[in-house]
Assembly symmetry: C2
Homo-oligomer: 389 residues x 2
């Protein structure tokens, strides 16, 4: 805080609070609802680690939050973001295990997209020396999800086959890298056609999202697949379950198919639910199948499994240090350009992780008489954002 800011209060008493940039969701809807704003800098409460953020990860769940389709979603306005990496700036009372200046990864329930964030220490993990902040921010959501899906729930074994959607997305890339650590695993996947050139080396058989992929898989593997990872939900859930081999495992870990337009569509939401068949355990008994659901944020923030997640995060950090996994970064964006970054993800144009970096300058915007991008620069407060350029 500069001394200038402190000198002229009427009472010359409490200093004006320092401010930090952050990405605020002002209401549910399209990219315009997400704005770079300034907020008072948070401080570390008991058990918390205060992190000076150097990079933030974006995932499909952020789009769902923005559109208001996440179940038990937040109230607006709220600072968005579930994952970040940075340096420890301060420690709250009774916070142990960290020192000022430690390079760390933080996993939180919103509020990660900020220059400074306070996170309970159980959701903070130390980064190794050779890990960049961007890689650190790209790890939590994608790699924890992929690791738990493959090695805990599906119990992937040598010689098995895995189907995964969105091969070019954060989790998709993590899945392919983790599968390649195992011998003789056959990978099937989908990605938009325009990504095929970039990601085809990662899988054995690649299909476009829009083709009849169950039929294509059956042509190559009449029995189906051992493991089916589904982040789409809707009618793809039934397709995935029907594609399982005996002893096969289907895991639903997302519902990105309900993110279509700009705003919450009750129709697409209801349709997604209605399309998914309910299943009797007796049918699974008859067919030797497993179905599962996995949602990392629930596990951590509603179900209190931070110890379990920390153990897996430590394994991932070891795999990173050993050069076995390496996040793929699609692009890094200034906070001011978050709307454009999100649109890229919504258009399924990213290959790998989209990163927000609070130290980046916003991209220069074309000066035009047309209405100005509301997300192009950081506003001082949330009231006057529409007039900013």
């Amino acid at each position: 805080m500069s001394t200038e800011e402190q000198k002229e209060g009427p009472e010359a008493a409490a200093p004006a609070p320092r401010e930090v940039k952050c990405v605020v969701l002002t209401g549910f809807g399209g990219p315009k609802m997400v704005r770079c704003q300034k907020k008072p800098e948070p401080s570390a409460k008991e058990g918390e680690v205060l992190i000076r953020v150097k990079a933030c990860g974006m995932s499909f769940q952020d789009l769902m939050v923005r559109q208001g389709v996440l179940e038990h979603g937040p109230k607006t306005p709220i600072v968005m973001g579930f994952e970040c990496a940075g340096e420890v700036e301060a420690l709250g009372e009774n916070t142990s295990g960290f020192n000022i200046g430690d390079r760390v990864i933080g996993f939180c329930d919103y509020k990660a997209w900020s220059e400074v964030v306070a996170i309970p220490s159980q959701f903070v993990y130390k980064m190794p020396e050779n890990m960049s902040f961007q890689d650190g921010a790209a790890l939590p959501m994608s790699y924890l999800t992929a690791y738990i899906l493959l090695f805990d729930i599906a119990n992937l074994r040598q010689g098995q086959s895995v189907f995964t959607h969105s091969v070019g997305g954060g989790v998709g890339i993590a899945v392919t890298q983790l599968c390649h650590m195992m011998e003789d695993v056959k990978l099937f996947g989908t990605a938009s056609y325009q990504k095929h050139e970039a990601v085809k080396a990662n899988v054995d058989h690649l299909f476009d999202h829009v083709v009849d992929y169950p039929q294509e898989v059956r042509k190559l593997s009449p029995e189906g697949v051992d493991i089916f990872l589904d982040c789409l939900c809707g009618e793809d859930a039934n397709k995935g379950i029907s594609l399982l081999k005996p002893m096969g495992k289907y895991i639903l870990y997302g519902s990105s198919s309900i993110v279509t337009g700009e705003t919450k569509s009750f129709f697409s939401f209801a349709k997604s639910w209605w399309q998914v068949d309910k299943i009797s355990p007796i049918k699974l008994y008859d067919e030797n199948k497993t179905i599962a659901g996995f949602q990392l944020r629930h596990l951590l923030h509603k179900q209190g499994q931070h110890q379990y997640v920390k153990e897996i995060m430590n394994k991932l950090i070891k795999l990173y240090s050993d050069g076995k996994i390496r996040p793929c970064i699609d692009s890094a964006w200034a906070f001011e350009d978050v709307g454009e970054a999100m649109q890229k993800m919504q258009d399924r144009k990213n290959i790998g992780k989209i990163i927000l970096d609070p130290t980046l300058e916003p991209k220069p915007k074309p000066v035009s008489p047309a209405r100005i991008h509301t997300t192009s620069q950081c506003s001082e407060d949330k009231e006057n954002t529409e007039d900013q350029q």
Copy 2:
């Protein structure tokens, strides 16, 4: 075949076939439907191993077959039995990997309860020197099931908790032994009260079948359990699923609750189906749960997974040789006493495996003016069984 049997045919042509004792299901119903009869000795066809049987295993599925409640069950009359151990007596054409005299375990789709049985070689496994025939016959159904449930589907890890019904049954004992190979696994289980003294050392917390076990488990572990193994089905399926911790796994591997009276009860069958809630994968996603079904016989005989099963059988044989697992034999019975043996299992009075041994003499029966046990001796054919003593 004795020469006497050959000399006096009208044409003095084909020798009379040798006969072997076997256990035949003559129709669906109570213990009287199961009879020891003589049948022509089978021979080994191409790819088959002919086994001189020394011991047979009985499992709850045999009761379900007898009562006609097994889905896609057989037509009667049929020689019963899914598992046996004995010596190789002959090999069919193009049958490799075995020699006459080898001690083997055989897994088949019916017909195991016979003095001699022919089994395709892919379902035959060599026994180590230190394994008794009774132990060999006790392994397949129980230990393969327990191993696949715990280590493939549930992916049991150190420090987790496992709930299993029928702790005193074949699978239940196998489950407890395999769990004890892992460090720090907490075991919950049910068994009939009269078995408690005998099996209580095998688990950490033992309940009677009839108590409100979900409530009892919640008292000890408010979060529930990591793994729930259900062989009862019916309303216990819903109880099991509701008892899961976050990341918990429920596996249905039997439906013994529908075996109640002597004959097929459509009411109890329909009730069991009707009581089991269908589940949406979206609910599993929301709750971080897994549900699965497992049925070994389907896997082997309808779904062709004999290579997978053989690999696990080899692991089990190694564990046996290393002294890590040891089947618990409740009792061994002559073929003639099969009805009584089955009744003991139906009354849930066995602790461990019930074995049929074709070399045993039938138990002496009390001579009484009352109607004679129809299963007390081996009949020459199926027509005159009622009159035998």
